[in-house]
């Protein structure tokens, strides 16, 4: 079994369009959730989100590229460029055959669907742009990364709703660990902050109209975000041999299925995934210093997640820190685990735990140390990242300081 390390990271999200800015926002407990600036927002009852503001595709891509790149692909490409620049890796030679890309997205090119449905239904046109299909397909971002960077090994996209990125990164980890590949680009992306994307979520009545307040007794729902985070996962020996800077080691991964309900979370399913990741990493629970929570800010998730953590860790649950950065960047759905992995890397590398902001009232059903409102300095050696998706699909990653 090979050891797997992270040697590069990049991101575009509501807090910043790079990792450094995102870390600064985490340290400051800054909120990236704001009023949505999208077409027909006046017909929505939910009008806030973690939107990437000031995004200028033409600053990054030429016209021929823009007609092929949905917003979720654009975010992915820029995040990947940052990650590869940091890693200093180049796949032009033989390494390209031993490297691939596994990405998570729940819905792919939602903006492209939305815009083109408008064209045919609202405007009554009978013709759409010829590139609609290659632009909206869920694997578009993964394929463009493979083409841009010459990744010729296993490449695909995982869609497990809110756990997509964690499933993707877990699979990338397993591929390198098994020796199937030497390096992988992995992470996830989502961009569904458009009229149709928000309207669909409104229907479930689980969205907050004012703020995302995970674990706070007065929480009233989730807030959507958008963006991407991409990482370079690499065989430890390969990274060491070329003298790469190592951000963290990925040491464990587990996935479980609740097999119970299409929207309601299950404590048992979540607990099995958390315990499974520890087992996979050969770690004891008391080694875990920080958990980046799924922490959506819904009534159902937060109490179920806290109960699962309490079940797995016993007394140690009161010692560890658990925070939800969705309070700052919103819920990036299929991209969320990737952006949240940044908070895990910051905890391990910089000894700074990102806070749960918007925390106003303790909830007896979420009685853990949720790092309320202010970042905290703390040295942690092992962290977990939780993701629990609609459909009962759970994926938990374990990372270690190196």
């Amino acid at each position: 079994m090979k050891r797997v390390v992270i040697t590069g990271a990049g991101t575009v999200n509501a807090l910043a369009q790079d990792v450094e800015g995102t870390f600064a926002a985490f340290r400051d407990g800054r909120c990236g959730i704001d009023e949505l600036d999208i077409r027909d927002v006046d017909r929505l009852s939910i009008r806030i989100g973690g939107q990437v503001k000031g995004w200028d595709p033409e600053a990054h891509f030429n016209r021929q590229q823009i007609v092929l790149y949905d917003r979720f692909t654009q975010f992915t490409l820029i995040a990947a460029k940052q990650a590869l620049a940091q890693a200093g890796l180049n796949f032009d030679g033989h390494l390209g055959y031993e490297a691939g890309v596994v990405l998570g997205t729940a819905a792919g090119g939602v903006n492209t669907w939305d815009e083109n449905y408008r064209t045919v239904y609202e405007e009554g046109k009978n013709r759409v742009h010829p590139f609609v299909v290659p632009k909206l397909m869920n694997n578009a971002a993964a394929s463009h990364l493979s083409m841009e960077f010459n990744l010729r090994g296993p490449s695909f996209t995982v869609a497990t709703a809110c756990a997509s990125s964690n499933h993707a990164m877990g699979l990338a980890f397993q591929m390198i660990r098994s020796g199937a590949t030497k390096a992988m680009l992995t992470g996830g992306s989502e961009s569904m902050l458009c009229f149709g994307g928000i309207k669909a979520w409104e229907g479930l009545r689980v969205m907050s109209k004012d703020a995302c307040r995970p674990f706070s007794a007065n929480r009233n729902g989730m807030v959507q975000g958008e963006g991407a985070a991409i990482f370079v996962f690499e065989d430890y020996d390969h990274a060491r041999a070329r003298g790469a800077e190592i951000l963290a080691e990925v040491v464990g991964f587990a996935m479980t299925s609740d097999a119970a309900d299409i929207v309601m979370p299950s404590k048992q399913g979540a607990a099995r995934a958390i315990a499974g990741a520890l087992r996979d990493a050969k770690l004891n629970g008391d080694q875990v210093g920080y958990i980046n929570a799924h922490g959506t800010g819904t009534a159902a998730n937060d109490k179920t997640e806290c109960a699962a953590v309490a079940d797995v860790f016993g007394h140690h649950a009161d010692q560890l820190m658990i925070s939800s950065t969705k309070s700052m960047h919103g819920h990036l759905i299929g991209g969320t685990g990737a952006v949240e992995l940044l908070a895990c890397i910051m905890a391990l590398r910089d000894g700074v735990i990102a806070p749960t902001i918007g925390y106003e009232e303790p909830d007896p059903e979420c009685a853990l140390d949720v790092v309320p409102n202010e970042a905290r300095e703390a040295q942690v050696d092992v962290v977990l990242s939780n993701a629990f998706a609609f459909g009962g699909l759970n994926a938990v990653l374990a990372l270690k300081r190196i």
Binding site: S45, G203, L204, R205, S208, K209, N220, G221, V263, A299
Partner: protein, 89 residues
Amino acid sequence: MAADVKDTVLSIIAQQAVLEVSDVKPEATLESLGIDSLGLVESIFAIEEAFDISVPFNANEPEQNADFDISTVGSIVAAVEKLVAEQHG
């Protein structure tokens, strides 16, 4: 109008609970009728469509929805009557 509202709401709830309308009593709770959170959200959607109203309801705080009391079938009927009067009055 009031009678129509009641009949329509009862029929929506009955359909969701897979019961005869006559078996849906005003004092019944949704839980006693076997309607879960998804069933509730779907019923509210059906009510909004039937009366062309907007129902202020957030599934994260069912006990705090002061304007839409879902504690019993009767309270739901009363809340819908009020909303219909407010929004179409």
